[in-house]
Symmetry: C2
């Protein structure tokens, strides 16, 4: 499969490298890492074993790549206004587009530009950071829950899932992509938000009763909103407790939004906060704590510069 990776931050570099190693024909749209990757290739330091790709095909502009079978989108969501310029040159008759971005609204934005039938979505559970140019650190997890946004054939979804599986990724096809997105938001909204706001790792929030209780209350608001969205199966009442226990095992983990803030990047407030709030509000669900967290993050986000738009 000819694959183009747009938004080659830690997430795009990691999954692209894994797919290339599994035999796919991968090209990376690069900016910061271009020179390093062209000269020395791409190095992945992974909990599953390090590997190096000596020959990696990079491009500075999508026109150098042209139409592919699959575009993998790993851009930071605040850069979604760059979809037309970055993705259109990669799209031909048969091209599918897979967004592995955070939050809500990414599939819809791509569908509006390129038609709904070619859009896939993947909810990525990946802990990875970029290192020096040409290097990515895979620190944990990596599972992807994959689904069609609208009319994509289940054969194509299965093909994409099979490619990830050949690369060693635990990739599961889900019938209800929106349910998968909302279930991830139950984690992302409290932990990304609070860790970024307070510059605290998840273990600090877990171990202090007032913050643990706040996480639980925020999760409750997200679950209440999710369960008005017509998901195939409602999120179960004890999912918040499950997520709290799951997070206890993560140790000193720093969510991506905390890293974004530390590194002066813009925060993904729209996709992770504003769109879920709007979706809940449209169904009459009041989410005061999520709304307050959104406002607090917007205040601290004023001071960021927003130069780096790759997702990780």
């Amino acid at each position: 499969m000819r694959i183009a990776v747009v938004g080659a931050g830690a997430l795009g570099l990691y999954y692209g490298a894994v797919l290339q190693r599994a035999g796919e024909d991968v090209q990376f749209l690069l900016r910061r890492d271009y020179d390093a990757v062209m000269e020395t290739g791409l190095t992945v330091h992974s909990i599953n074993g390090d590997f190096h790709l000596a020959n990696v095909r990079g491009a500075r502009r999508p026109e150098e790549i042209g139409p592919v079978d699959l575009v993998i989108v790993g851009l930071k969501t605040f850069a979604n206004d760059r979809f037309p310029g970055l993705i259109a040159p990669l799209v031909g008759e048969e091209t599918h587009i897979l967004t592995l971005q955070n939050g809500l609204g990414n599939e819809e934005a791509l569908a509006g530009l390129f038609g709904p039938d070619r859009i896939l979505g993947g909810v990525a559970f990946l802990c990875a950071n970029r290192g020096e140019p040409g290097t990515v650190y895979h620190l944990g997890a990596g599972r992807i829950e994959l689904g069609a946004f609208a009319g994509a054939s289940s054969d194509r979804v299965a093909d994409v899932a099979a490619a990830f599986t050949r690369g060693g990724i635990d990739c599961r096809v889900v019938a209800d992509l929106r349910a998968a997105r909302w279930r991830k938001l139950v984690w992302n909204i409290p932990y990304n938000g609070l860790c970024a706001l307070l510059d605290q790792t998840v273990d600090r929030l877990q171990s202090f009763p007032p913050s643990r209780e706040l996480v639980r209350l925020i999760m409750g608001e997200v679950i209440a909103a999710a369960n008005t969205q017509g998901l195939n199966t409602p999120i179960e009442a004890d999912f918040a407790e499950q997520m709290l226990v799951f997070t206890d095992d993560m140790g000193v983990y720093r969510p991506s939004m905390q890293i974004d803030r530390r590194e002066g990047r813009r925060l993904e407030i729209d996709a992770i906060f504003s769109r879920p709030l709007s979706a809940g509000s449209a169904q009459g669900v009041n989410m005061p704590r999520v709304d307050m967290l959104r406002a607090l993050l917007a205040i601290v986000d004023q001071d960021t510069t927003g130069v780096d738009v790759t997702a990780d």
Copy 2:
């Protein structure tokens, strides 16, 4: 009037100095400032004109002072467990105790220890900081709203108010001290809380629409709780808007809790947040944003040391 000032931070030093200048017999319970004040007196840099008191009576222990007519309490509220040791030696048959501390519960704590009939409360609208030892900066305002907690005679309240007035303080006797406290909380809860949490001055919150809206929502929760407390006159619906406009004129102002956090002091979470939350909750008022702000402050307060207990 023989007056003892307990908790001689910026607030205690400023009001004590003003009362001494007006002819009252003031003694200060001092710790950090003791040596400087004993050697060179007390200097007030004030927007109303600087002045210096060459002869100031300080003490390190309340037993050195003994019973007085009026104890003025300026301790940080998290040090209220020190009331017995610090105040009991100052209390005789006729002693009254005036707390100028922030938030709720201070009069009640004093009444429980020393009897309700001798307790007065004052809501201080003062912007002051400490400088080097022996020096206090009066940066703005200074008004006091003074009232009896329970059975104190109106003559004694008037005497105390008259002393402040002779010192040049705008001191108003109020019939409903609890209403005055709640009205100040409408300001203190959002601005102290958010400025401390975000380390932003009030003008930053005022000028950014998401934070201005958050301030308004928080004020609305406080007003809703206040109006279930049996105040003589309910807080009017447009009071939040009045406070927002009032705050627009304050410029680059840093509330005391923001200063406390910057200087590594503990935050007055119990008096300013937990007690109003409990009072609202007891009347069935849900205050999700105030509760979330309390939790967020508790998280950041974990990292403070709490060595300095004077109010300012």
